[in-house]
Amino acid sequence: MPFSNLFAASRISGSGMSAERLRMEVIANNIANANSTKSANGGPYRRQDVVFAEVLAEQAAGAKGGVQSLGGVKAVELVEDQSQLPRVFMPAHPDADAQGYVSMPNVHLPIEMVNLITATRAYEANLKAAQAFRQMNEQALTLLRG
């Protein structure tokens, strides 16, 4: 694919946008499960965080002996927040312990909201980078015009 290197910047921005989109999903999942006392691995839901890593793509053969090129970002894992779970007194709740306390998820809405704004802004930044790249290309094309 001869054009793949030409549009590397746009591919990198795309990977950034995909990553931020995943972060958005994780935050939405945290907010949705802010009151879930049951989860897949038993116990109450724990808030999740996404871990990103830089990607170095192997450049196509023939280009300076397989030199590493920039490949953007990718999400490597989802980690659970191991902070303490708040305990709420609800004796009637089916998940209540002997003392009548229920462990609630450690999701704090203000934190999630701030993360949400950060994810939105980071997405916007990637979008802006893609737009700037496109604009640069268009300006370069004007060289061909008489």
Binding site: F3, G14, L141
Partner: protein, 104 residues
């Protein structure tokens, strides 16, 4: 004395012997294929970008698309590469017409 620096221009004559600049003279056979190859390479790239954009749009229409921005990026890439081809074609046509208008 004042013209002495211009003597360096004489070295430019060696440029004509550089194989990269006039391969057809060196090899003695026409290399008409190279320009066509280059154009074909560009067109291939455009075709790939176009196919990618088409696939992305199809995936969006069928609900298989993972995210909207990759579709938008694929379409933007196809548009940009197409416009590059278009500009080059315009430029080539212009050059051809320029030659045709030449007085003989």
């Amino acid at each position: 004395m004042a013209l002495e620096p211009l003597g360096a221009i004489g070295n430019l004559g060696t440029l004509g012997r550089m194989p990269a600049l006039n391969p057809q003279v060196e090899s003695g056979q026409p290399t008409a294929g190279t320009f066509a190859n280059m154009l074909n390479g560009l067109l291939d790239g455009q075709r790939t970008a176009n196919t990618n954009a088409n696939e992305a749009i199809t995936q969006l229409a069928t609900g298989e698309a993972q995210d909207l921005h990759s579709v938008s990026l694929a379409v933007a890439q196809a548009e940009l590469s197409f416009r590059m081809i278009l500009e080059m074609r315009n430029r080539l046509t212009e050059a051809y017409q320029e030659v045709m208008r030449m007085q003989v």
